[in-house]
Subunit: 342 residues, 2 copies
Amino acid sequence: MAELTLEDIAKQVGVSRSTVSRVVNGSPNVSPEVRLQVEEAIRITGFHPNAAARSLASQRTRVIGLVLPRSVSSFFTDPFFPQLTQGIAVGCNANDLSLSLFLVTNKEDEDKIMPRISRSGMLDGILVQSGRADDPLMERLTNSRIPCVVLGRPFNHDCFNYIDVDNVKAAYSATKHLIDLGYTRIATITGSHGSTVTLDRIEGYVNALTEAGFVVQPSLISKGEFSETSGYEAMKSLLPHKPDAVFIASDLMASGAIRALQDSGLHVPEDIALVGFDDIPLAALTKIRLTTIRQPITQIGSKGVELLIDLIENGSQPPRNFILDTELIVRDSCGAKLRQKK
Amino acid sequence: MAELTLEDIAKQVGVSRSTVSRVVNGSPNVSPEVRLQVEEAIRITGFHPNAAARSLASQRTRVIGLVLPRSVSSFFTDPFFPQLTQGIAVGCNANDLSLSLFLVTNKEDEDKIMPRISRSGMLDGILVQSGRADDPLMERLTNSRIPCVVLGRPFNHDCFNYIDVDNVKAAYSATKHLIDLGYTRIATITGSHGSTVTLDRIEGYVNALTEAGFVVQPSLISKGEFSETSGYEAMKSLLPHKPDAVFIASDLMASGAIRALQDSGLHVPEDIALVGFDDIPLAALTKIRLTTIRQPITQIGSKGVELLIDLIENGSQPPRNFILDTELIVRDSCGAKLRQKK
DNA sequence: GTGAAAGCGCTAACAG
DNA sequence: CTGTTAGCGCTTTCAC
């Protein structure tokens, strides 16, 4: 069976192609009787308008892109990204949008994919997960005219539409929680170097310490890069400096840290208390349940879709942003249940 | 700047639109000099052909879809899916294809998404992850004419193009490994009810037991559904029946099983030996490193893309399939290092 | 090797 | 409220 066209339906009902088009697009300018007839014909035949022709004529594709840059090397090791993707997918489904996924794995990908993204008219808008200070992708994207929402805080946040959580505040509250529990040598394991999340979370950590009158000790700040293994290594390197608590910038790294502690014969939270970040499913399932900062990951995704749709329909000036709330989830790893709050 | 068209480039170089089109599409029928000039003009202007117009004229979109049905509820809890997605993305990048992601989360999604997938000409072909016996999606997909590759073994595998591993053989080798190590009360935790992976893995388990002269005991077969929690529950329910080893249909469930064992004060592998399935990154990172069956997850994805491209270009009859190899990865949880092989 | 011309199936003025 | 008429930007015969 050859694919049906508007014309076929029009002929069948005895109206013009335009009328059928109006019905398909929900235009009010169609008489009820005609509308019913056309709808019936469409239903019976299973007609579905051709997407390419539609896009060509209307300059709209109803497709948005999700770009995960090279810096996101951990698409499948950290549940954060799949969960974000899921949130976006749900938002797309709800709005009759299709989602195109661009996983950039190397420089060649980037060079090949970028023009397709920005110049071929294939996408109505894009979502980019990025918080790298120096991501070359961001610049290329800014130069293109395509509506764009960043998931995470862009380095130069005045120029972008973005969705984020207040990482400074969240890290502050995590660290403050440890301070309030009476810990005095509070370390931190950071995220990847150069990303805004990492900078913000360090800032929150420093703020809390400073506010409480502690001196920030560089030896208690250990660099991770969001992977489990990096959490393990970072924890190991922290041990000689005898921290009694650690704020860790992701749950995945926290699970690595726990592994390092186990290997060293130390107990959580008795010997060292831990607070993580993200609240991935794993956090509640480890043997020592993780106290952590919950991010509304799914909502970041769906809110991003919402904002993007708005930009597409109403223009993107001036840049807007939404800061979503985080929540401290107290479980076992912080030792709150063993200690007395001050 | 308005978007450039073929015509603009043509005018600029002083040739016809057709010639530019030929250059863009790598047709051999262009003189070297003209080709060079056109290429130069394209490079300078940054011209990129309009995807919609191209699709409309050529009936090709260079977009393929990845459909993850409702039954895949665990897109972000089990690393299997993200990893598969990554493999597919890499395959797409390598072949200048775009990837459209359809995460079906409920019945409404399915009804809305399906016609878009199969009738709107938006996709050149699709990849479906599915192994449910009764997935309604599969039937709808078969009825549509769109080239389709199933990732996993479809229930009625004669009718489909698919990529899979030999789950029967893999489960057999996992179970056989436990038998060879001298265990005598070997249990299994299965995957979700009704999926072909689950059936196949049970079959392999039964085969190994039978071959070794063991009687298959229903009380030693516990139903999971691929989630961590279900692994935990399944292990708990197995405990009263005193297994000395368990073959578990996924690493994620295995990690749940380990948690259950820890809660019960039992040690792996001293009290109970475990073999998992998948070899997700986590498997090598748990405190008790998991012996498991490694699936070439990424390759399943990229091979799927490859086959799909072939179907699109050369037709899909007769149905073809590729069965990829698995490998038993011996680590600590099976107790191989404590026991003497027979 | 190159150009002219005819669509691909749809939307969007515009006229009635 | 409805039909007519132009395209949207490209591919693809078909002549030359």
